[in-house]
């Protein structure tokens, strides 16, 4: 169901930089920079303004559950007293930043549980479908599902994190025609119904990927979380041209053919990342529209951040909860649902862009999917820039083949030892040896994936799985193959060097360095992201 109200938020916009253009705000980790881009050959892509959220999200959810899309009965018709019901939901990596309460997952799970209770269903499990991400803490689970649900299910062991390394808890359902093992949560596989609760922040999310990836483990994931797949996903944000999605869709068919019944509930949110008003609202305004108050508030924020230690800045930003509003909710058969969801994502995020550029600049923010309440380590910087930002395109990459990406981020040589233990080792051992994704995959992946200590920490602490940093590196492998050079502005030079990139102190220095690769007077495109947009490059 979509909101009928239309206040005509402005679409995305491509600004050609001229002499009157003000400096552009660059995210720079947990600080910001104002940068002047060369006049006459630079452009800035601004995201569309936030769509209006649904006026009655709970009503919309109830409507979606009883009016499914595709070949599916209404949820109430699928529920019966003696059944085994599993509700799986997206983990801490969605949305970014975490949204204000009530989280969409809470709204949907409460509605599903109300229906289950009405139908007399007793055997209900709730699983955070985190695949090989870190386990969610109690606070994080409470935030996602709400206190009422948490208190009703967690103490009795019926609300928990997926454990992809539980030898008794995982099962291989079969193999795709491409020889891909389809590994799945045993509880989900043995349920009469799996209800999946999704938040679709970007077009990569959702569909069969929700379950085929979220409830899987290394045995299954290795078939699509690899260099070959990522280099053949152009981009992985464009499902029609994404081998990542093709593999997940093949796996989805195996799951369905194995008799697993999935009722998919997908939602989209608007671009209201920093609020229409409030302390961070200036971050989603276009610079030439900044009021005197905006300028004053930005300068004050900047000065305040400058005098703080990075730990304090991190604490402040980690506490930020986005005032996202739900823009659509649809439920039913996975593929039919996801088609509608994807259109709704595009409606919020698509910006049409004419042609490619020589140099693509990006200001990387403090957060990525894998450092919520954590540290943005150098590997995640690479993944955010060359994985996520680079791939925010349809058609062709924003930057031409052999071009240069310039990322602005402090890139500290710093890791969260609880969340990212294998990242530390990946950085110390693997990247010290090679940055070539193929070589990394061949030489080191198995060792890290099967390391017992990492598995122990993944299962018992709050660590990402041992193989996870490899996937971060693979996420950027399409970009690494495409680009002529990568430069990080304002980063820790030794960390940047370890990543295999070049380090520059300032943006003008970086542009000068880039000209060695792309020649003099290159064209420059800046992604003003976040809020998120998806470039439709003609």
């Amino acid at each position: 169901m979509k909101n009928e109200k239309n206040l005509a938020p402005r679409p995305g916009f491509v600004l050609d930089v001229d002499r009157t253009s003000p400096p552009v705000l660059f995210h720079h980790g947990d600080t910001f920079k104002l940068e002047k881009l060369p006049v006459g050959r630079s452009r800035v892509i601004y995201p569309p303004e936030p769509l209006e959220g649904l006026r009655d999200p709970d009503g919309a959810i109830r409507h979606a559950l009883e009016n499914p899309i595709g070949d599916s009965e209404p949820l109430s018709a699928l529920l019966r007293p003696d059944m085994k019901l599993t509700i799986a939901f997206d983990d801490i990596s969605l949305p970014l930043p975490p949204m204000r309460r009530p989280d969409i997952r809470q709204r949907i799970i409460e509605a599903v549980l109300d229906s289950a209770a009405e139908a007399g269903v007793d055997d209900v499990h709730l699983i955070a479908a985190l695949a090989i991400h870190r386990r969610m803490t109690e606070d994080e689970l409470r935030h996602a599902v709400g206190d009422r649900v948490y208190d009703a299910f967690a103490p009795s062991g019926r609300l928990y994190n997926h454990d992809a390394e539980d030898p008794d808890g995982m099962v291989v359902l079969g193999e795709t025609p491409h020889g891909e093992d389809v590994q799945f949560s045993r509880r989900a596989a043995e349920s009469d119904l799996v209800v999946y609760v999704n938040i679709n922040l970007v077009s990569m999310d959702g569909g069969h990927k929700s379950t085929a990836t979220g409830l899987s483990g290394y045995t299954g994931l290795r078939h699509h979380h690899n260099v070959h797949t990522m280099r053949n996903s152009t981009s992985f944000m464009d499902q029609e041209n994404s081998e990542l999605h093709a593999s997940n869709w093949r796996m989805g068919k195996v799951i369905r053919d194995a008799g697993v019944k999935i009722f998919q509930i997908e939602t989209t949110v608007n671009n209201n990342t920093f609020g229409r008003s409030g302390p961070l609202a200036v971050l989603q305004k276009r610079e030439w529209e900044w009021s005197t108050r905006d300028r004053a508030s930005f300068v004050a924020m900047q000065k305040g951040l400058d005098v703080m230690p990075s730990s304090a800045r991190r604490q402040i930003f980690n506490a930020w909860e986005a005032p996202y509003e739900m823009t659509s909710v649809q439920a039913g058969e996975v593929e039919a649902v996801h088609k509608v969801t994807t259109e709704n994502v595009y409606q919020q995020q698509i910006v049409e862009v004419e042609g490619q550029t020589d140099i693509l600049t990006m200001g990387l923010p403090y957060i990525s999917p894998y450092n919520v309440n954590s540290v943005m380590n150098p590997i995640l910087v690479m993944c955010l820039g060359l994985g996520y930002f680079f791939n925010m395109y349809r058609g062709k990459p924003l930057v031409r083949e052999g071009g240069v990406v310039i990322m602005s981020h402090p890139t500290p040589w710093e890791f969260h030892s609880v969340h990212h233990p294998s990242y530390i080792d990946f950085f110390e051992q693997v990247l010290a040896d090679t940055t070539d994704p193929i070589e990394i995959e061949r030489k080191y992946e198995k060792q890290f994936a099967e390391d017992e200590w990492y598995i122990h920490l993944y299962r018992n602490s709050y660590a990402y799985h041992g193989v996870h940093p490899f996937y971060m590196w693979y996420w950027g492998s399409h970009a690494l193959e495409h680009l002529g050079r990568v430069i990080i502005v304002g980063g820790d030079s030794s960390a940047v060097q370890r990543l295999g990139f070049q380090s520059a102190s300032t943006l003008p220095d970086a542009l000068e360095m880039a000209s060695d690769v792309v020649g003099p007077q290159p064209t420059i495109t800046h992604m003003k992201n976040p809020p998120i947009f998806l470039a439709d490059v003609k």
Binding site: V418, P421, D425, E428, Q429, Q447, D451, N460, S461
Partner: protein, 403 residues
């Protein structure tokens, strides 16, 4: 005869210690060492010969002495004044090119009967290094009567001399003595053909030890620590499987040995202790930090071999006790028992290894004796300056022709 002479001079020794603490190698300028015109040493008997050094290396133990950091343990084992220099390739008066095996054991001291270690061929363990026809001194380079390699000429017993083939360059030959130390350490690790060995430090000793390990134990997994990029690439080239920065050693050994880790704090992903560890750790540094690292990454009932010369160190030995770790020294060389049970002189093995592994490449810089302060400062900061072995070059000294 031009020579660098080290005298007993307590105030200058203190000054060297102070200067060396600010800038390694700087003790040479203010300490008890001076470039002098020394007398040619007298030959104790007909078994001794004059050796005219061609190249004479600078060793870590030399630098410790010059910077006033060597242990007082050695005080009664040396005789002042002495001329340092024990890594030597030189010429005899008849023109024969030789490398020096510097240990001054019972044979060179003209002692009969030989002490037990000397009888067994374990020259480095000689019990009588302060007795016999010559003054105290564990090696040439610490004995007043013999002189040493940092001079135009010194005296050596025939048993100390190893003629070398023409095809072995001077640079290769000067590496034989330190390589023998690495060979001795490698052949005394006490493991079978497979296992894990961690080498701490990739200076000269670390690199020759890695080379020896790879040569004698092709299937052993070797992890090395290296502080500088050139050390890292040499370590890899000489046979290390994994090379990491010194502060990465615990995590690296954990990965290599598939051990689990124990964290001191609630930060469960930190590696403060290992449940297992490396079968053997060879410490080629010899500092409190390196030995502490060694203790933290050696498996229960494993072995630590100290090759780098330690001085006074501050250690917590609880892990040694709790994990029943052996801590042993590896000093110089003598006779080795090979994997097939045969015996060979360490120096002969070292000469072969220097040639096969092309260890002449480790000689990074040579200096004339006149520039000894530059040479010693370079040697003391070799890693930082992209060097490994620094040596004195005496081939152009005019006085050589007069002897």
């Amino acid at each position: 005869m031009k020579a660098l002479e080290f005298r007993r001079n307590i105030p200058r020794y203190a000054a060297a210690r102070l200067a060396g603490s600010f800038t390694p190698g700087r003790g040479s300028g203010v300490g008890p060492m001076r470039l002098v015109d020394a007398d040619l040493p007298e030959l104790p008997n007909q078994d001794w010969e004059i050796v005219k050094p061609r190249l004479s290396g600078i060793c870590g133990s030399d630098l410790a002495t010059i910077d006033g950091k060597s242990a007082r343990y050695f005080e009664p084992l040396v005789s002042f004044p002495f001329i340092p220099g024990h890594e030597v390739v030189g010429d005899l008066q008849d023109g024969t090119r030789v490398v020096l095996e510097p240990v001054l054991g019972c044979v060179s001291r003209n002692l009969e009967p030989l002490c037990r270690p000397c009888q067994d061929g374990q020259l480095g363990n000689c019990e009588y290094v302060t007795f016999g026809d010559i003054g105290p001194g564990i090696q040439t380079g610490s004995c007043h009567d013999t002189g040493g390699g940092w001079s135009v000429a010194f005296a050596a017993h025939k048993s100390q001399l190893h003629p070398i083939e023409e095809n072995l360059s001077d640079e290769a030959a000067v590496m034989v003595e330190p390589t023998a130390c690495g060979v001795h350490a490698a052949l005394n690790i006490g493991i079978d053909s497979e296992g894990t060995v961690t080498v701490i430090g990739s200076g000269t000793l670390g690199l020759v030890t890695i080379s020896a390990l790879r040569s004698y134990f092709p299937d052993v997994k070797i992890l090395a620590t290296a502080r500088y990029p050139h050390q890292r690439s040499l370590a890899i080239d000489l046979g290390a499987d994994i090379v990491v920065a010194p502060n990465e050693i615990k995590r690296a050994v954990r990965r290599m040995t598939k051990s689990r880790a124990i964290s001191l704090s609630t930060d469960a992903g930190n590696v403060d202790r290992l449940t297992g560890g490396s079968d053997v750790v060879i410490d080629c540094v010899g500092s409190s930090e390196s030995i502490t690292d060694a203790l933290s990454v050696t498996r229960p009932r494993g072995k630590i071999v100290l090759v780098g010369m330690p001085s006074v160190v501050n250690l917590e030995l609880t892990p040694l006790w709790h994990r029943e770790i052996q801590l042993v020294g590896a000093y110089t060389y003598g006779t080795e028992t090979l994997m097939d049970g045969s015996n060979a002189r360490t120096f002969d093995l070292a000469i072969d290894l220097v040639e096969s592994a092309k260890l002449d490449r480790l000689v990074s810089a040579i200096y004339p004796l006149n520039r000894y302060q530059d040479a010693l400062e370079h040697a003391a900061s070799a890693g930082r300056r992209g060097a490994v072995k620094v040596a004195f070059d005496l081939r152009s000294e005019k006085e050589r022709d007069l002897l």
